[in-house]
């Protein structure tokens, strides 16, 4: 994936970036986070050294936008719902995990707006902030403990039963 920050910096180097360039940066920022989750999941459950195994690709592709988004929406709460509390055995996720989850939901929504909504307006400064939010989301995700990250990655992969 191209680095969204570099993409935007290049676009604005000589003149204000076009609406299309801003939309592409917003979309790319989201995908950087999405692929970080996929990679974390496959490395956790298959192993980084097993990239040639079919399981690596299967698990990588097992992560869907909709499932991750749904989990992140549910995690972005001061107090988790009853089902999540039972599944994760906690009443709330860590602040870092909530920061990641909150950013993921917003980045996904912005990507939807950027890719499919012609009415959506993206300013240069707002787009720079969106790219920075994607970087913050990845940093927050990487700061979570291995145990919490594994639990959430499992939840994103398997719907489970209520």
């Amino acid at each position: 994936l191209p680095d969204p920050a570099e993409l935007l910096a290049d676009a604005g180097a000589s003149q204000p970036p076009s609406d299309g360039q801003l939309r592409r940066a917003v979309s790319t920022a989201y995908y950087a986070v999405f692929h970080r989750v996929q990679r974390a999941g496959v490395e956790r459950f298959v192993g980084a050294g097993n990239a040639a195994r079919p399981a690596y690709t299967l698990i990588y592709r097992g992560y869907s936008h909709g499932r991750i988004r749904a989990v992140c929406t549910a995690l972005d709460a001061a107090s988790l719902g009853a089902t999540l509390q039972r599944q994760l055995k906690t009443s709330a996720v860590s602040q870092d995990m909530r920061d990641f989850a909150s950013a993921f939901v917003a980045l996904h929504a912005n990507r939807q707006r950027a890719d499919y909504d012609p009415r959506a307006a993206f300013s240069h400064s707002e787009t720079i902030a969106t790219v920075a939010e994607a970087a913050s989301a990845i940093e927050a995700f990487d700061r979570t403990t291995n145990e919490e990250r594994a639990d959430v990655l499992a939840l994103m992969l398997v719907a489970g039963r209520d």
Partner: protein, 98 residues
């Protein structure tokens, strides 16, 4: 789940933004319904911010402001997910209004 009136949403948003961004620097607040989330209702809150823009700092502020709004809305029975834009004076007039 309730759908809070726009005046109440703006009041909640102004209070939350004032605490996180500084009341004197938040010059305007607007909110519209958004269909950016196809699985649940959402709001797009716009804030007119007249202060220094630092992307890294602003990224965290956006996250925390969104969480604060989400908690305030849930506490009032409104499940609309808050999306946020923080705009400078030049971009405020170009914001999405419907």
């Amino acid at each position: 789940m309730a759908n809070l009136p726009k005046t109440e949403l703006k009041k909640i948003a102004r209070a939350a933004a004032g605490r996180l961004l500084g009341a004197a620097k938040v010059k305007g607040v607007d909110v519209i319904g958004s269909d950016a989330l196809d699985y649940q209702p959402a709001y797009l809150f716009s804030f007119l911010y007249d202060g220094t823009r630092d992307p890294q700092h602003e990224a965290l502020l956006r996250i925390r402001l969104r969480q604060k709004l989400r908690d305030e809305l849930v506490a009032r029975g409104d499940d609309g997910y808050p999306l946020i834009t923080i705009l400078g004076p030049l971009d405020w007039e170009k914001r999405q209004v419907a």
